[in-house]
Symmetry: D2
């Protein structure tokens, strides 16, 4: 139903950009799992803006409060309700947008769907701010998975046309950590510097720019996921497309596979020195028929440029449909891809944990 996902681990996101608060409800977390609050805070800080010229000037502390389900630093097995206060809302900034839908935002379809009743101040429930509770929930999942030697890492694989290197076929958790600790989450700092130039150039042009993120999950056993419509790809894609601005999802080499011959695209099996069956390449991203192969799970998402730009744009007034122009003032990111990196990790961690709980009953 709409703002939730998951089968045995169910996550629902609530709140609006300018309402009383935002948060997440998590049902089905295993009981007795420690939650390291400081580590969770550090994870959540990775998606926060306001730290430099690359992102919005809106600064919010994003401090998650555990309303239920966590007692003495451990999960109780009961639903975990997380709440994050909205403290820095300036609705005035949006007042002139009320009846002029911003191009490529959800304003217009939301206006039609709820015949004007939705609270769309600041993007309402569609705001990128709603990824904060997703990160809070995902940060808990990441801690649980790490205890079982399952690690999730993502990095900026491109901004505009500037591409970074990719993770190696078999990355280790230390590499994920290294990238995660950077203010700008790239593998190659040189490429990262060029990406930042792209972002600043877009900003200077009163414009915005898109990017891509590559994500990997290591440590998953083979055989996870259900066939057809509940495989790993299906479940991940469903969640990933719920992250604002994601317009493409591909697994392994994805769309590039469509240009290959089978002899290039197939991943031959071999036995490694420990006697494990592995593939020499991993063009399928660790998933065949929707089910994990035991190789690292790998996918990439494409993120469109922030729709909010400072240039005047053509739009119409509602409900009369009269053509007009719109200037968005407010505080906006010239690029959201770098802030979306931990969000992608959070989404992947929650989905993977759900599949594990479905298939194993417990960890």
């Amino acid at each position: 139903m709409a703002s939730g996902f998951g089968e045995r681990l169910r996550v629902s996101i609530y709140g609006e950009s300018h309402g009383n608060g935002i948060g997440a409800l998590i049902e089905g977390l295993p009981a007795g799992e420690a939650v390291d609050y400081d580590r969770l805070m550090r994870f959540m800080e990775r998606r926060q803006g306001g730290r430099n010229a690359l992102s919005t000037a809106r600064k919010e502390p994003d401090i998650p409060e555990f309303v239920s389900g966590i007692f003495d630093g451990r999960t109780t097995g009961f639903p975990v309700c997380i709440r994050i206060a909205n403290t820095n809302t300036r609705s005035g900034d949006y007042s002139n947008l009320a009846m002029k839908p911003r191009p490529s935002h959800a304003d217009y379809p939301a206006y039609i769907k709820w015949h004007g009743a939705a609270d769309m101040r600041g993007g309402g429930h569609f705001s990128g701010r709603l990824t904060a509770p997703l990160c809070a929930a995902g940060g808990i999942a990441l801690q649980i998975l790490a205890r079982h030697n399952i690690f999730v890492g993502a990095h900026l694989s491109s901004i505009g046309t500037v591409c970074d290197d990719t993770f190696p076929i078999l990355p280790d958790a230390a590499l994920f950590d290294t990238v995660a600790q950077k203010a700008f989450p790239v593998i190659s700092d040189e490429k990262g510097a060029r990406m930042q130039e792209e972002i600043l150039a877009a900003r200077e042009a009163l414009d915005s720019v898109g990017g891509t993120i590559e994500c990997m999950v290591t440590g998953l056993p083979a055989g996870l996921g259900d066939p057809m419509f509940d495989g790993m790809e299906n479940r991940l894609a469903r969640v990933l497309f719920g992250i604002p601005a994601v317009k493409g999802v591909e697994f392994g080499d994805g769309f590039a596979l469509s240009q290959m011959r089978g002899s290039q695209a197939n991943d031959p099996y071999r036995t490694d020195t420990d006697g494990n069956i592995v593939t020499e390449t991993n063009r399928n991203g660790g998933i065949l028929g929707g089910i994990t192969t035991g190789m690292p799970l790998r996918f990439r998402v494409g993120i469109k440029p922030t729709p909010s730009i400072a240039q005047p744009q053509k739009t119409v007034s509602l409900p009369d449909g009269q053509e007009t122009t719109l200037e968005i003032k407010g505080r906006h990111d010239p690029c959201i891809a770098q802030r979306a990196v931990p969000v992608i990790e959070a989404a992947a961690a929650l989905t993977v944990l759900d599949v594990l709980l479905c298939d194993k009953g417990a960890l």
Copy 2:
């Protein structure tokens, strides 16, 4: 649960490539809808192989039997069970594959998941043959949607590196029909000829090749879909990744958006001559925030090359993991993208009909 999808319209696919039969169970179809059997057969024939050198020599009539839910040519409102007999199975062809997983097929993860118990002859439940019942179900949905002026059309947008033109921003149903009636479903026959050369060249090299498919849905009102995780993108992606060999899904300009500036990527609003609010471009594919804008819904899928190739491939024997080689005899398509075109239409039609039923209760 695994082989099914949908909320108010639920479709479940059953069967194995070499079992007694395959089929689909459809729950929630509106009552009293006429089902034109001949038209359904013509739709299903579009995915059938065995008609020329481009596809497998396995010929199956694929005649859907309505076991329940359809009476006197109309839906009754009760679950529709469709059954298609398996008539042309030659299991002998696969006997030597039993314990040697074919690279990039589901054989290995399926072996691990079900500890060898799954009936994987011919790919079992993962076989591309299971798209026949999906087409049977989708063909019914297409007929229902057409009665409400909602049309779904797909075409081969590329094979290997050969690309075809794309549908116009506002395609009409006649164009969809024209493409659908071609033996090779392309817009430009000249590009189609070059694509076919690619396929035949791959076949000659004992190899296979991938491709992409573009799909559009016209006639949808604005405001369909739920926010976040049950939007149009989320639901479509979940289903599309259930089609064998699909490894990437993108909406609108998808990954290309990640290389654009916001000023290029945003779709400005205007009012058309009939007074309807439309966008000048449709780079977002008719979906914003997961919800339809009233512009045509547009997406693209990337399909990997058929994993079954006639060249010897490296693999291991199971369960001991000894390295060996494998030669796949059998009957296989050098490319499955052209046969997947109606499958994509079927998946889109079923998903769109489900969302309509969720949001409107009835049509």
Copy 3:
């Protein structure tokens, strides 16, 4: 969605009384489980009518065909499609009922819901005949559970006002077998004889009579089920009310508890000679807070008298609503409670197996 239930084990029932066939689709059965076909047939025969004066003269062989998911006598892990042919349909018997809804059947609400489009011949999808595929699915679940020392047994606890004894607090599987093998599934044959007199008297009076069924499940570990709305009680009740004519469900002493004091109703804990924690009584039916206690799960259902009676009844003609009378000819059971006994066992087995798969991932 309507005709299906279950989370990790999903069962969907399809078919109409007078259509081509009826059946069940079962998704999520564990792989590699043996299915003893003869034993399944014997289980299904328990619900069949036509054996004596107590039930309908309609005789159907009810032979389940495994269309998919079972290979060489074992489950493959893929969806199991079961089909049962409809062979003995005499639609003529129902022709005059078409527009006169039978009192207390689903005819009238079905007519309104599907505006006359539903195929209601013989009760359509609402017919008691649809419990045959439920038994086929449940019979497989019973075989799987028995391998894990989980046994399900039900008996007729009353017909009209004649009550039988109840199962002991800790019944063993042999007692379940003994009851199951009786043509009339009661504990006390003397009480059974009086029940049969009740049924025959109702028949003679051109009338019908209701009854109750008690069911127990032994061998379940403590701790199964989810809190609040997905507990054992919630899931069982949802399924049990899907069996035609069930109008009441109670767990443990059920409604009788409402007349007790807490000191009578509470089940005190003690430790048995094997060191297991048990309760002295089991008034709560082995479930507290929706979760199993390790004591036998116990519930009772109330079944209304067959609505089809041979007496003239007041009804209206549709769609004009003119008042008229109706005489139901056809072939009908004067009581269906005795035939519902294995159906209740099937429903319980499927629900219990689903909860086990949810909580344990596998058996």
Copy 4:
């Protein structure tokens, strides 16, 4: 998933008796619906204790805060998160119960399920206190339904062996209001006085007593609900068994039908003076085949006596299983049935609204 229910209107309950807070997340409420806060408070007060000798001395204000989804007194269409603070917790009272499971509470199965990790202070997530957020959610649903002339009313139909009258076949909303405004929600005040004597007698005996509640929903059109496992009965039963202490649910005359002949139990159709098709009696409770008939929906629940009693009880210590006795001090209701009356109304309202949204898409 456990603590939530509903298909198009999804309600999830969170919180523990002695945690930071409790609440509900409601997804899928129609947009633009007014929420009368004062009226909601008055509804919630009906379930509160601490007002007289009949209930617990624990007094909580139970003030619902709308964290999201309600703006300027109207629903926005986005998820509604409701939070209620826990202000009056005295965990000391429960300290000695930690390792001694209270008979007929969820303590023991919860201990096994979550291996001691669950926060069971005050009953944790199983506490009757969690019905407060259910009432908050249900109170909003009741306001929405009333705007569409659908009314829900419940009353105490018995306490112990003292029974009250039942609602008439066609009750009007005024009668529901009259009962709702009574401190003790009965139809006959004389019967109510005797019921209260029962409760006080139980209290005096350091004991508790159970009861039953009858509930009706008027104004529903015919044709609502899905067949088999998603009918009105199935959905209501699933939710009702999620209310603590409910051990039985019956529709219409329920278990009493099992003692009747068909000629008594069937509801004959006739046409009323307005030309509507109605039934003369309503023994089936306005539901046939799971689908509404247009007659008032009617059901009854059986509620067991409060398991917390002041008498010493036999139990065991955990985890060693040593036999011991337990004396529960704390603050407890000698009967919870009278406080459960609005909870039953809330559960019914939410379920009915969900079915309406499923079937109609909107109201």
